[in-house]
Symmetry: C2
Subunit: 472 residues, 2 copies
């Protein structure tokens, strides 16, 4: 076990006493994730500049100390928590949050890795701009990059990777790599930043970034559309996209099993279906645009397009159309997880399949469960516009014939196998790998990909000191 | 020198006699690029399937033969021509063009690496879809990926990287890497395909791809806007983007020096300025949308927005506004290169700088030239919406005090130094590295980036058998 007292003294001398936390009560918040993940930290260090991160990493490298870089620790796969060994130093980015420079003509923002998404957007909105990754949590930009966060408006804006121009990274030995590219086009060989996107910080600490930002939309329009089947929801998606691609920002689809608990547990949220049983699926359609309403009347356009679709052949699968306020409809979507937790034990998945196979995959999953696990209810919802579904499984622990501890790994293995092998899908659409998905990564990743990761790890962190996720 | 006769016999036995070309007159078209690049091939081989590419690569690997993968050879940096040694085997993808599967609900196309862009778009348009990379040339998809092609509508759609979901790659030793990901979201660690995007095929032959495709716009609107200065052109860009981001597909800016020769040498192309001197810059604005004109009247919106801008303070820099047909205005843009070639010796650059620094960079370049090379005329034009400019320098070779062979390397070194060191810019915005830009790559690439490339090259092509570009 490393000598925490000596190390803390060294680091206080190097970075100031404020920067180093050693007391158990101070460490708690660095040890546990926002929702998931729990470990034990040797100590926590909070450098305030890239130069300080560099010094710290050089020190840890020389001492052979393991390091866990951490942003706001809002990830969902445990990738930013120290492990249980108590040997890992948490490198918190929370004080690396001073740089925040906006260039409105270039439409870019240069930020420190520890800047929060909310702080960035607060600064941007004053200039009519925003970073278009839309999330429930409030992560740091560095954390978003190493997770390659997606969010609810990926359909229009893409993920972090699509909105990232450059990065500044500190490597395991303290080397600072300045790849703070401000260019939309720079075709000069390997795009180095890609190595750090979505790789959980195991190849370097992202201390800065150049982000591409977008104008804030001036208007929105939303509808809820009842669909008799998953196929009907896909036909609607395709038809809307053909006409509305430029302004189509979200297409969320919610199964009856996922929407009913929202209304049951939140009587304040209006149920548009009233006392009727909701149809198999409810699609939440969102349009938004930078154009003023005098040029483009989004609610009118959306209503007209939905009407035209209803009149066509594919419209047979549509049971209801409700036009309404974005905040009301999004409230339904945002209360699903909570609604389900009120129903019993929840096992959440973060699956993607090719968009065209979404309905078939869901049907296959429901059939698999009905046959072998009839006490488990499939409550699926998700970003169908992006091919993503949060298949959530719910059961009454007391009534289940199998203890949860035994059931969970079996269900995970079966559902992931179905998604990955049966439907060309992914076991992690947007959350990342991390300790939570490590065994699925190990099982499903081709050897050629592991070999590339191994070569990169050997080059950039040969002592294997960074993070807990193993990609090689 | 490898024994061409023996090798040809081996390859004919392996792939059929059609697949192998050895006669000098047959080899010419594989030895010279569309515009640039010239070398000498040992022979040319045209496999028809990925399995054949794999067999061929395994053979070359075993024999220590150097290979130049080649698509339609339309690149502009010589990266797909064999070198002058006569030792390189050209691996042409022209017959690897059978797979072309469109999934309209997933909005993807799976294609062989040798499929031409024109063939892909022909198949897509029947379904109301297109691959949104808009180019003058007709490259193969594999070539587009290893070049990371941009094009004139990058402002809205991004480059190839932004529209690529997966790749199939054959490595130097013949290993087939199937990374034909069909998912918009798949956050499972390193995104392997990124290693092959923009790296000129030196890490593997791209034999297949999954491309994200988009609905074909239903309408377009274009305007030419005269701008008294580069700053005025940037102010206009920013204002238009704020309102029109969703439908803003191109923003090209042409200097007076670049536009005058178009009209001088093409009297059939209408000069909207008539007999007046064109202003310092002319901006070509294009909007397009999938929305029908009943929902959004693009020409009206564009005219109204330009009118509103003219009335504001920033509108002082605007000299003229012409509304007109897309084909007429694009004809001007597309005849610039030819116009300039009529004026004298042309030295073309493919530079990018942060968009906000475009006007300042151009001014600095013009001043540098005026002072030290007064016989050289700067004729700049380019994709200002993306921060890209094709600064073209033109001079009368007979009248120049310095021979062209001496002048070119000096001008290149000075202009690139200004862009890269003075303006955080790039010496290759969209064309790539290749032999033409090798010495600038060597000079401007950080050692950390070269080290990563070296590790990848050691892993994937340790014998250094693929291509001519050196990224390590």
């Amino acid at each position: 076990m490393p000598d925490a007292v000596r190390i803390a003294a060294d680091l206080r001398a190097m970075l100031g006493s404020d920067a180093v936390l050693t007391e158990a009560e101070d460490l708690v918040r660095y040890e546990s994730g926002w929702r998931y993940g729990k470990g034990k930290a040797l100590l926590a260090v909070r450098p305030g500049t890239t130069a300080e991160v560099s010094k710290l990493m050089a020190y840890c490298h020389a001492q052979g100390l393991r390091v866990m870089p951490q942003g706001a620790n809002t990830g969902l796969v445990g990738a930013s928590n120290p492990d249980a060994s108590g040997e890992m130093l948490v490198l918190s980015l929370e004080r690396l949050n001073k740089r925040l420079e906006i260039d409105p003509i270039n439409r870019t923002a240069v930020v420190d890795g520890g800047v929060l998404l909310s702080s960035l957007n607060e600064a941007l909105v004053a200039q009519g701009l925003m970073f278009p990754i839309d999330l429930g949590a409030d992560p740091t930009i560095g954390g978003m990059i190493v997770t390659n966060t997606g969010g609810t408006r990926l359909l229009k804006y893409g993920d972090v990777r699509h909105n990232l121009q450059g990065v500044e990274v500190v490597l395991a030995d303290g080397t600072v790599v300045d790849a703070l590219n401000h260019l939309r086009k720079n075709n000069t060989g390997l795009d180095l930043k890609q190595l750090f996107v979505g790789t959980s910080g195991v190849l370097g600490v992202v201390t800065g970034a150049v982000l591409q930002v977008v104008p804030v939309p001036r208007q929105q329009a939303t509808a809820l559309v009842g669909c008799a089947s998953g196929e009907a929801a896909l036909a609607l998606l395709q038809a809307l996209e053909r006409d509305l691609a430029d302004v189509f920002t979200a297409y969320e689809v919610i199964s009856a099993n996922a929407i009913i608990p929202v209304f049951a547990h939140h009587p304040d949220i209006r149920n548009p279906y009233g006392t009727s049983q909701p149809p198999a699926y409810t699609a939440l359609v969102e349009l938004s645009s930078t154009l003023p309403i005098e040029a483009l009347d989004l609610p009118e356009v959306l209503e007209e397009r939905l009407g035209a679709f209803l009149e066509g052949e594919a419209g047979e699968g549509i049971t209801d159309v409700f036009m309404g306020k974005p905040e009301d409809f999004w409230a339904i979507r945002h209360h699903i997880s909570e609604g389900l937790r009120n129903e019993g034990k929840v096992l959440a998945f973060d699956i993607s399949v090719p968009r065209s196979r979404m309905a078939a995959f869901t049907t296959a999953a429901v059939e698999l469960l009905a046959q072998d696990y009839p006490f488990v209810r499939a409550c699926d919802f998700g970003h169908w516009g992006d091919g993503g579904t949060h298949l959530n499984l719910v059961w009454d622990e007391a009534a289940a014939p199998v203890p949860t501890a035994e059931l969970v790994p079996v269900l995970q293995a079966r559902i992931y196998e179905l998604a990955v092998k049966g439907f060309e899908g992914s076991y992690s659409a947007e959350h990342g790998v991390g300790p939570h998905n490590q065994r699925f990564y190990d099982a499903y990743t081709p050897e050629s990909v592991k070999a590339v990761n191994h070569a990169l790890k050997q080059l950039l962190d040969p002592g294997n000191l960074m993070g807990t996720t193993r990609l090689d």
